[in-house]
C-alpha cells in the first residue's frame, strides 16, 4: 500500500468522524440507558427518540463563550482539552475494525495505543494545574495517580496476551483467534490457564483508565464539584467530554480485539465489521450499566485494589503463562 497524502487525510478524517459520532451518540445512549435504569423517559423531545439531542448539544457548546478564569495559565488551559482529544483520535488509526477496514495497521499496534492512552493522564494534569482551582488540582492529582497505577496491571495483562499470540500486531492477534468462540483469548488455553482472570483485570483497568464510575474520582461531582474540568466551559468542556467517550470506545475495542476475537463470529459464520461493532457496543452497554448501578469507590480503596490485588495477580498470571508456554 502506497502511503499518499490523500490516504492519510481520508484516514484521519474518518477516524475523527467516527470518534466524534461515537462520542455524540454514546452520550445519547448513556442518557437513554440511564433513564431506562432510573425509570424515566430521558431525552425524547428533539427528533425521534431524542436523536437530535447530541447535535443540538454540540451547537450549544460551540456557541458558548470560552472563558478563561483570571490567574489561570492560559497556554496550559487551552492546550489541555486538545491534548485529551488528540491521542484518543490517534489511537483509532491503528484499530482494525475488520480484516480490511484499518487506517494503518502497525506491527506494534498494542504498544502504540498504550503509548497514546498514557498521554491522556497528562491532559488531565495540565487541565487541573492550568485552571488554578483547588478542586481541579486535587482532582487531577487523583486522576493521574489512578491512571498511572491502573496502566501497570493493564499492560502486564496485555503482555500476557501478546506472549500467547506471539505478536503485537492487533490484526495478527485477531487472526489467531479466528474461527469460533472457543479460539478466543478469554477462554483458558493450555498455554495460559488464567485467561478469564486476565479478561476481568483488563476490563476493570479499562473502566479505571477511562475515569468511569465507580472509578470516576477525577470528577467526583459530589466532592470536587466537577473535578479537573470545573473551570472549563464551551468546547473546552466539550472536548473533555468527547475524549472520555472516545476513550471508552478505545477501551472496549481493545478488550474486544485482545480477548473477544475482534471481528470474528462466535460460530465461525460471516466474520466482519458488524461483529466487531456488536461486541464493542455490548461492552459499552456494560460500562453504562455499571456506572448507573454502583456508588463511587474511595481513592485509597482504588489504589489498594490496583497495587495490592490487581498487580500481584497479573504478575503471577504473567509468570504462570511464561512457564506453561515453556513446558507445552
Amino acid at each position: 500500500m502506497s502511503l499518499t497524502l490523500l490516504n492519510v487525510i481520508v484516514a484521519v478524517v474518518i477516524a475523527i468522524a467516527f470518534a466524534a459520532a461515537n462520542a455524540a451518540y454514546l452520550v445519547w445512549a448513556e442518557r437513554r440507558g440511564a433513564a431506562r435504569i432510573q425509570r424515566r423517559p430521558g431525552p425524547n423531545i428533539n427528533g425521534p427518540f431524542g436523536l437530535l439531542q447530541p447535535p443540538i448539544d454540540g451547537i450549544k457548546l460551540m456557541t458558548k463563550q470560552l472563558m478563561i478564569p483570571g490567574g489561570a495559565d492560559k497556554i496550559l488551559f487551552m492546550v489541555a482539552p486538545v491534548l485529551a482529544m488528540a491521542p484518543a483520535i490517534m489511537s483509532f488509526v491503528t484499530i482494525p475494525f475488520s480484516e480490511n477496514i484499518v487506517a494503518r495497521n502497525m506491527d506494534i499496534g498494542v504498544l502504540m495505543i498504550f503509548a497514546f492512552a498514557s498521554m491522556g493522564a497528562m491532559a488531565i494534569l495540565l487541565a487541573g494545574w492550568g485552571s488554578r482551582n483547588k478542586y481541579s488540582v486535587m482532582a487531577s492529582v487523583r486522576a493521574v495517580s489512578q491512571n498511572v497505577s491502573y496502566e501497570i496491571p493493564m499492560l502486564i495483562t496485555a503482555i500476557t496476551v501478546i506472549m500467547v499470540n506471539g505478536s503485537m500486531d492487533l490484526k495478527a492477534i485477531n487472526l489467531a483467534q479466528a474461527g469460533g468462540f472457543w479460539h478466543w483469548n478469554i477462554f483458558p488455553s493450555l498455554q495460559s490457564p488464567l485467561m478469564p482472570v486476565s479478561f476481568i483485570i483488563f476490563f476493570i483497568c479499562s473502566l479505571a483508565e477511562t475515569n468511569r464510575a465507580p472509578f470516576d474520582l477525577g470528577e467526583a461531582e459530589s466532592e470536587l464539584v466537577a473535578g479537573f474540568h470545573t473551570e472549563y466551559g464551551s468546547m473546552g468542556f466539550g472536548l473533555f467530554f468527547m475524549a472520555e467517550y472516545a476513550n471508552i470506545v478505545i477501551g472496549a475495542s481493545l478488550t474486544t480485539l485482545l480477548f473477544l476475537g475482534g471481528w470474528g463470529c462466535p460460530f465461525g459464520l460471516f466474520p466482519g465489521v458488524w461483529w466487531f461493532l456488536l461486541k464493542i457496543y455490548l461492552l459499552i452497554a456494560t460500562f453504562i450499566w455499571i456506572r448507573w448501578t454502583f456508588p463511587r469507590t474511595t481513592i485509597y480503596g482504588l489504589l489498594n485494589l490496583s497495587w495490592k490485588i490487581l498487580i500481584p495477580i497479573s504478575l503471577f498470571n504473567l509468570l504462570l503463562t511464561a512457564g506453561f508456554m515453556k513446558v507445552f
Binding site: A34, R39, K74, M138, F294, P295, R296
Partner: protein, 372 residues
Amino acid sequence: MSAPIQLRPDETFILNVGPQHPATHGVLRVKMEMDGEYIVKAETVLGYVHRMHEKMGENRTYAQYLPNLSRLDYLGALGYTHGHVLSIERAAGIEVPERAEYIRAITVELNRVASHLFWFGAFVMDLGGFSPLMYAIQDREHILDILEGVTGSRLTYCYYRFGGLYNDVDDEFIEATKRFIPNMRKSLKKYAALVTGNIIFHKRLEGIAPVSAETCRKYGATGPVARGSGINFDVRKNEPYSVYSDFDFDVPVYQEGDSLARYKVRMDEIEQSLRIIEQGLAKLPAGPIMTEKKPKNIKLPVGDFYQAVETARGSFGIRIVSDGDKNAYRLKLRSPTYSNMHLFDETCEGMLIMDALAFMGSLDLVIPEMDR
C-alpha cells in the same frame, strides 16, 4: 497573570466547601483547612438562609405563626407544625379529639417516611450512585400524593390546627395509604439488595467517622445520629406525646456510631413508621376532628412552655415564654440538625475530604431548618 503562590512543603491551604457546593445540599459553607486531601481543621459557617423565624414568632399571633413552622424543614414539615400545635394546646388547655390525634400521628409518620426516603436517595448520590435517588423519589411521590389529597399542599404543609385538623381524611386517603404500605416494604427489600448489600457502599461507610455517645451528648445530637451512636432516646418513646403511647413500635439503636450505623437506623425507622401507620389505620376512631371548645383568639396564660417532638431529624423543641398576650413574648426553636451539624467540625479532623462529605451526608442536614 497573578504572582505565583509561594508554599512551604508543610503548608496547608484553605478549601471553601460551599456556600454553593453539591455536597452541602443547600447554602452551608464549610471552611476546611486542608493538607492535601486530609482535613486539618473544619469550620462550618451558617447564616446564609437565616430568615428570623424566631423573631417572627414573637411578632405574629400563634395561629399566624403556624405556617412558618412548615418552612423550617421542607422535607418533614408536618413534624414541626405538630410540635407547635401540641405546645399551644397543652399551654392553653385545649382538648383534641382522639380521631384528630390519630390522623396527626399517621400523617407525621408518612411524612417521616418521605423525609427518610429523600435522604436515602441524596445520601447515595453523595456517594456517587445516582440511580437510587430516582427510585426513592418515586416512592416518595406516592406519599406526597396521599398527603396532597388531605392537606392541599405537597411540601410545606399547614394541616394541623389548634384543637384539631383542617379537614378530615376521606376513604381515598385510607385506601391509598393501605396500598402504599406493602409497596414500600417491597421497595425496602429492593433498596437492601441494591444499596445496603453493596460492597463499595459498605467500604465507604463502615468504620468511617465514628461518633461516640459522649460526643453526641456534648453537642446535644438527637435523632438517628444519636441512635446510631448507641443512645436509646426517642421522644416518641421516652416522653410520649399525642397518641404514640398507644402504638407498638421499636426504636432502632446501633452501637457502632459510624456512618453505616446512622444509615441503618434510618432505614429501620422507615419500617417502624410503617408499623405505626398500619396500627393507626386499624385503630382510627370515628368522631369529630375539631374540638368545639376553643377560644377564637388564643391567648396563653403567663408562663414558660416547652414541647418536644421527634421529627425525622431528631428532637425538635419549641419553647414559648408568654406574658398573657396573643403572641409570644419570647420564642425559641430547638432544631435538631443545628445540634447534629456541630458534630461535624470535631469529627472530621484528620479525615479525607471524601469520607468527611459522606459523613456530612449521613447527618441528614437540612440547611433552612438549621438557619431558621
